[in-house]
Symmetry: C2
DNA sequence: CATTTCTACTGTATCGTTACAGATTGCATT
DNA sequence: AATGCAATCTGTAACGATACAGTAGAAATG
């Protein structure tokens, strides 16, 4: 009865020093490989006592299922692909997101694989690659457009995914978003509170969905608090040097604003440089409200009024959403929006 | 002669819509699976014409080898694991490194997997996990200590790896490092040039190898240029609020320094806050020289004299080193040190 | 007592790839 | 004509896990 079953035809006997496999456990318990596999999955047709024994031995051996074996047989990769734009933000935006995702994945068998791309190249490429090679069980993407072709493709192919930002074309899918409308609205309020009336907006590139959210929040804010817009012809994607130059020109012009709303932390730095280059100063000639995803603006220019976007939290939410989606939860239930927080100024 | 070989006993015929495998190519070319496999690897025992034909069909089908298959059979994972401390730096330090690594890996079959950990927990854990599960072909680690146990373990187990920073205990291994000694030395020079003589150093935690490099550069600098050290009792790992407080106290004290050398960009922000809290100002009462890995300090406090550390470049170098190591290149040949660059101040 | 049903377990085939140990063919050599 | 030998090509087994289709034995049923 000893050493039967799978070891009958196989020549090998499990070596002590190798990484344990199901075969090792099967050998040690005297059970079949199949039984061990099913026992570890808590299948209903395995005896309670047997399960217990298998689990004990597995634990003792430090058994970890071989990923390649599982993946080959079942097609499950246990990988979440994070598609990142390599020219995203200069300041740790994406690292915080990665860490948020990792936090959630650390309790699961999932690993995080970074799939980088440049947003000057075709943004479909990384997504197509993942789909064609089946190299992930789930995908996380950002920089979402209203009718994002990546979202369409992923949905079509039935690949679970979550987005950082929403679409706006009747597509239902898991997402996490920051309430940019609320941010922009409140930003205007904060400026008007300080007696500012002529306000410029440094907005995101118009192709991204949240451009519209920012615009709406900004414009209803202007309307609600009786302020007017001073046009600013650049966006948060522009090189910092360009932003500085454009702002400098604006600040030197006859109708310079007395308030600025800035949609990205790194851009706020350039805006401030432009303001100073024009001989103006925050807090004196004008005020600025900016979103930031890494809490540093307040450290350097306490005069900048900031709203905090918790990107790490966004990462957590998206990771949870993708996993839930993989587990079959309906997309409608996997959408969340987080509110800006307004830390008391200073520090 | 058609449809023979592997298709004789197998019931399946390759479906058109599925992802192509070697079997598909074998079917289309009328060759055996083994032949196709060897042809694609350019093995010497396959005819030139056959190779050409196989390559053509493979290209046409968009064949990509199944990673799980390769991994299961050969043990090669095609994964480079990047071990990242989730409490690393607040500012995009690690994202830039990730992108640098990605740049190099994009031309190879390697993927990058992030293995996060907290450096308050046992730093051996992620490394042991990778070794025990064989989940990567190569590893990249940072926050290196003089006699780093991770470096020892990885070497012992023959796992290819590269480090960001050096060890200092007779261990030979691939690394990329920033010349912190040169940085600190030059930093003192820059301060003395501006007439500063009493200099404080915000140093890295003493357990990290580059603590010594910074100290040596700093002290030889003091000696060479005839300046003296004002002690500063904190380090770059401390919470920003702590750094600010300690600096504030120091700046209020009788023997406040007239110069500061700062070993990390994010810490410089807190140092500056401390200076201002004490009612002092950079450029007037004292000067500061700081290292930065993301070029933003100059944007916000142009008065801070900065040395740039190109972390993206470091990522590239380490990725190249790991791959070379995997390919059997000797570790001695895979060590590089990059010099600080001193961008002209301003903007 | 024969038969069905249920419980607990097992062998075989398979995922895609590659190492290994042959085959087959044609051609030159003895 | 027999032999040797490259040059090409091929089948089989194996990596580790799991889906599937069983089997053996005990217990319940008629």
């Amino acid at each position: 009865m000893e050493n039967k079953g799978n070891f009958g035809n196989a020549a090998s006997t499990p070596a002590a020093r190798e990484r344990p496999t199901l075969k090792t456990i099967a050998f040690m318990t005297g059970l079949g490989v199949t039984t061990v596999s099913r026992a570890l999955k808590d299948a209903p047709d395995i005896g309670a006592e047997t399960k217990e024994r298998v689990r004990m031995v597995a634990r003792q051996l430090g058994y970890q299922p071989n990923r390649a074996g599982v993946r080959l047989r079942t097609g499950k990769t246990n990988v979440i692909a994070l598609v990142l734009s390599i020219d995203e933000e200069i300041m740790g935006f994406s690292s915080q997101m990665v860490f948020g995702i990792s936090e959630v994945l650390s309790g699961t068998p999932y690993h995080i694989v970074i799939t980088p791309h440049s947003h000057s190249k075709d943004p479909m490429l990384p997504v197509r690659y993942i789909l064609d090679t089946g190299s992930a069980d789930g995908v996380i993407i950002s920089r979402i457009e209203p009718d994002d072709p990546r979202v369409r493709l992923l949905s079509e192919r039935g690949m679970p995914f979550a987005t950082h930002g929403r679409t706006d074309a009747g597509l239902t899918h898991p997402f996490h978003d920051f309430d940019n409308e609320a941010f922009a609205h409140k930003a205007v309020e904060k400026l008007v509170e300080r007696g500012r009336r002529r306000i410029a907006l440094l907005q995101p590139p118009s192709k991204l969905t949240y451009y519209a959210h920012i615009r709406i929040g900004f414009q209803t804010g202007l309307h609600d608090y009786g302020a007017e817009e001073v046009p600013l012809r650049t966006n948060t994607d522009a090189p910092l040097a360009d932003i500085r130059d454009v702002v400098e020109v604006m600040m030197r012009s006859a109708n310079a604003p007395d308030g600025i709303v800035c949609s990205a932390g790194s851009a706020a730095i350039a805006v401030n440089a432009g303001i100073e280059a024009a001989g103006k100063a925050l807090g004196r000639d004008l005020d600025m409200v900016s979103k930031q995803s890494v809490p540093i603006l307040n450290w350097i220019r306490p005069e900048i009024i900031t709203a905090q976007e918790d990107v790490r939290h966004a990462g957590r939410e998206m990771a949870k959403a993708v996993i839930a989606r993989i587990d079959g939860v309906e997309p409608e239930l996997l959408q969340s929006i987080s509110q800006p927080t307004w830390p008391e100024s200073g520090r």
